[in-house]
């Protein structure tokens, strides 16, 4: 394989689980052998979807001020934002916080489930590309920091109670990190290649190798 930063050619060696190989020239991470990467990505992907639904529909925050009482979920918050004069921002929030994370989790599940039994589904290659491309655009953890900062402003104005939706957001943030961070990119692509090869010639059993 070649380093993604400096293009140095390396032979891929089998490393032990949990170990990481670094580039000899520039010191960047080349690859990490993650234990049970697909199982974990699948499990955390499913958890993430549940948390995402929880964040969308469960009460996120309750505000009490001067007799008025407001309970809202994150999904409603985006709708309120649209109605109160911030349509562009509300679309941006919806894309970065709900749509892209959902796409990422969905593509992870779509990839991991069949690959766990060595099967190939249609369109796995574009789905993997999508999953990798979304990496920098999923901003749940940035939104979490934003929520903390705005809570500090809000506590001055009203009594705040955090609901299950808020805790779901934290769960979503953690499971996204675990699901995407646990993926072993080399293994994923090797397994896809093996699964497709097996589909074309069903009688040949191919062991997943590290050569590429």
């Amino acid at each position: 394989m070649a380093c993604h930063f400096c293009d140095s050619l390396h032979d891929v060696e089998l490393i032990e689980e949990g170990q990481t190989a670094y580039c000899n020239t520039c010191g960047s991470t080349l690859y990490t052998n993650r234990p049970q990467s697909l199982e974990r990505a699948f499990a955390f992907g499913m958890t993430g979807v549940l948390f995402l639904l929880g964040m969308l529909f469960l009460p996120f925050i309750t505000m009490e001020a001067q007799g008025s009482n407001l309970t809202t979920s994150a999904g409603e918050t985006v709708i309120r934002l649209w109605l109160t004069g911030g349509p562009i921002i509300s679309v941006a929030v919806a894309i970065f916080i709900f749509i892209l994370p959902f796409l990422q989790l969905a593509s992870l599940i779509y990839l991991c489930l069949p690959l766990l039994s060595g099967r190939a589904f249609l369109g796995m290659v574009p789905v993997t590309k999508l999953m990798q491309g979304l990496q920098s655009w999923v901003m749940v953890e940035v939104f979490f920091l934003g929520t903390l900062v705005s809570l500090l402003k809000l506590v001055k104005l009203a009594d705040i109670t955090l609901g299950l939706g808020f805790w779901s957001m934290i769960g979503l943030m953690l499971s996204l990190a675990a699901a995407v961070g646990g993926i072993d990119k080399l293994e994923l692509w090797d397994r896809i290649e093996v699964a497709y090869r097996r589909r074309k010639t069903p009688n040949v059993s191919v062991e997943g190798g590290v050569e590429c």
């Binding site: 050619l9 001067q66 920091l145 402003k153 104005l157």
Partner: protein, 205 residues
Amino acid sequence: MLASAREKNKVSCHTCGRINPLEEASCLRCQAPLHSRKKNSVQRCLALSLASIIAYIPANVWPIMIVTNLGRTEESTILAGVATFWQMKAYPVAITIFIASVMIPALKLLALGWLCALSAGWIETNPRRANRIFWLTELVGRWSMVDVFVVAILVALVQLGNIMSIAPGTAAVSFGMMVILTMLAALSFEPRIIWDNARQSATHE
């Protein structure tokens, strides 16, 4: 320094990492179009950085939030928001917002300019340092969105009729544009060119 894939007449797929012969047009494994180096990376990176500098100005000059409190309207810019938190003695928050919304974008644009100058060969440095800076630039970019999200949450939640309401200012959108443009600029940058230059000067010596 190890030989690069290109020197060995190979090209590594940007999508799946497979090593292909240099003459292939698309990856033998995933069919993604192959290019040994990203096309026009310096021009694209500079153009996107310039566009984000243009967006950076209104993002800091115009109000990001408009607060109406008992009929009194108050517009606040990003820096004014930092100052408010500082006066509230919420120092960690003030520092976080200052770093995320003012320092990171500015440093990122400086870093991208410096990296472009490096790959154009105008200046020279240890390529390992350039590598670390590029890695950092890619890593921190998204955190600048924090301020946009803060505005989004406050606008959605603080609608207490006549008592108090918050509306998004024009800077919120320009700020978001600026962050997205710097992220795209970082994505279009090609760090391998810096290493190509380093390999070339190593063989000349």
